[in-house]
């Protein structure tokens, strides 16, 4: 039996603490679309995406209205295009990205992910074509997101790809310079990428997934912060317990939305992603949770420990609330998408080095960080290599989504708009070069999994 207090609590979470479901993402396999003629391939994928996701947005809106819970985005992820398009006789996959963009617009989704390649051990011809096509593909489309997985714990790190991705990011920034290098906000470089992640820019439909699945990404940092406001001075046992209970409630809503979406669309339920995804809106920030725990400004000593506790408690609370958990599942720390992070960077309490340390204990990695436009490709590759190494050694997903904004210097601010937010340029310690290290190429061998000191 529901009580009045339960009803009031739930509605306060939605209206005052900005509880929402961040995304319903439909994963669609394109493995049955292969064709040597690229035009036919593009037609095949357009047809399959528009047929499969025809009712995705409408279903999302119906669920949103019926339960009174905002569902911010509806998205589609597809099989990594480097695999799906490998049979095409072509030297560019830009037309494929454009076909994805048209399909996404036709069905009305907010983003489509999967312009991706998995190259942790080496490149196929299709992988090379895809990586070379990324800058132009992101410049000539609006909704397409791209990702490249270049390392895993089982295989090590593909350092040739690390070198190339530094250059790809620079070229993407250059081609989208009139939009503050927005293309780079839709490009993420992974180590240990999961194949069932519903969040952008890194969503793709993994090769071991079913033909179609529906996955849900939850949100709710504002709800967690609000719950902690009543615990001033309480010890960490109580803090962890409260976060667990709150995460349970948030995730149950995600599970309800996923179950309904799966039933109404006739598509199997994939996973719930337990990530606490912030937005640039005030009151929807992961950084402010850390500060609520007693850190004066995010980035001060203690931040990594606070984030570790938060991340672990969210998983423990969320796990019991859902039948299948997957994706990235943790707290996100995207700088430009989190009002508290933006503030912490602007006041100088949060640096890129501290963010790197934070990525050791939470979801994903160096995310949505605007850096000076003249940062060299080798320095960006060095950042990618460091982040991939953290993921590889710690058996976790890490990623880099940095945006070298042409013409911008430390002290400037860039505006990406919408959920992508805005960001002061974050200083990078690049007075010393990583050039010779990155130029080596080859592979960093897979790490030993014992003697873990």
């Amino acid at each position: 039996m529901i009580t009045i207090d339960d009803i009031l609590e739930t509605n306060a979470m939605i209206t005052e603490n900005k509880l929402d479901v961040r995304t319903i993402t439909m994963g669609i396999s394109l493995r049955d679309c292969a064709h040597p003629n690229i035009n036919q391939f593009c037609q095949n994928i357009y047809d399959k995406i528009t047929r499969s996701a025809e009712f995705l947005v409408k279903t999302g809106e119906d669920i949103e209205a019926e339960y009174g819970i905002p569902i911010i985005h509806k998205r589609v992820s597809v099989t990594p295009i480097a695999i799906a398009a490998d049979a095409c006789k072509t030297d560019s996959y830009v037309p494929v990205a454009e076909a994805m963009d048209r399909a996404a617009k036709e069905v009305g989704v907010n983003f489509i992910g999967g312009f991706s390649a998995l190259v942790e051990k080496g490149f196929t011809n299709g992988d090379r074509i895809l990586i070379n096509s990324i800058p132009q593909a992101l410049a000539s489309t609006d909704l397409v997101c791209s990702s490249v997985n270049l390392g895993t714990t089982k295989t090590g790190i593909n350092m040739d790809c690390v070198r190339e991705m530094g250059e790809v990011i620079k070229r993407t920034a250059e081609l989208t310079r009139d939009q503050e290098a927005l293309g780079c906000a839709k490009l993420v470089v992974f180590c240990n990428a999961p194949g069932d992640n519903p969040f952008m820019a890194g969503a793709f439909h993994g090769v071991s997934e079913a033909d179609k699945v529906v996955s849900v990404g939850v949100s709710g940092p504002g709800v967690v912060k609000h719950a902690l406001e009543d615990l001033k001075g309480a010890d960490f046992t109580q803090v962890a317990e409260t976060i667990k209970k709150t995460a349970f409630k948030i995730t149950r809503v995600g599970q309800l939305v996923a179950r309904e979406a799966s039933k109404r669309l006739g598509v199997p339920f994939g996973i719930i992603d337990l990530s606490l995804a912030p937005t640039p809106a005030v009151g929807d920030s992961v950084a402010r949770i850390i500060e609520e725990m007693g850190i004066e400004s995010c980035g001060a000593p203690g931040t990594t420990a606070a984030l570790a506790l938060l991340n672990d408690a969210v998983k423990k609370g969320g796990l019991m609330a859902s039948s299948h958990v997957g994706g990235l599942s943790g707290a996100f720390i995207p700088v430009s998408e989190d009002e508290g992070m933006i503030h912490a960077v602007a006041t100088g309490s949060l640096s890129i080095e501290k963010l790197e340390a934070m990525t050791c204990v939470c979801s994903v990695g160096l995310d949505m960080i605007a850096i000076e436009g003249d940062t060299s490709a080798a320095t960006i590759s060095g950042i990618i290599a460091d982040e991939a190494a953290i993921g590889m050694i710690n058996n976790k997903t890490t990623a880099v989504r940095v945006i070298p904004v042409p013409g911008k210097k430390v002290g400037d601010t860039v505006e990406f708009g919408g959920l992508l937010g805005y960001c002061p340029i974050v200083p990078v310690r690049n007075q010393y070069s990583s050039e010779a290290f990155i130029a080596r190429g080859g592979r960093i061998p897979a790490p030993i999994r014992s003697l873990t000191n």
Partner: protein, 89 residues
């Protein structure tokens, strides 16, 4: 299916009458009402059974919302399951 209707706004004559009239016109049966006035603000939570009704939930929501706006109260109508899943294991 049960519906949870929450009404919040400045108190005035006829709020309950209006809400219950819309529900009655659409054959929605009221199961419980909890209402009070806090600092001049009207708060009501009403649980109703909608299974016997022919109206689509979205249309009923729209009708309640629009009628609420006319008299400056905020009316939400939600499927009860969002509360059930969050608060019951």
């Amino acid at each position: 299916m049960k519906l949870v209707v929450t009404v919040v706004g400045k108190d005035r004559v006829g709020i309950i009458a209006m809400v219950s009239q819309i529900l009655a016109e659409n054959n929605v049966n009221i199961l419980s009402i909890n209402q009070n006035i806090l600092d001049g603000y009207f708060n009501m939570i009403l649980i109703a059974e909608i299974s016997g009704s022919k109206i689509q939930l979205v249309d009923l929501q729209q009708k309640l919302k629009e009628s609420g706006e006319e008299i400056n109260v905020d009316i939400k109508a939600q499927h009860e399951d969002i509360f059930n899943v969050m608060h019951n294991i």
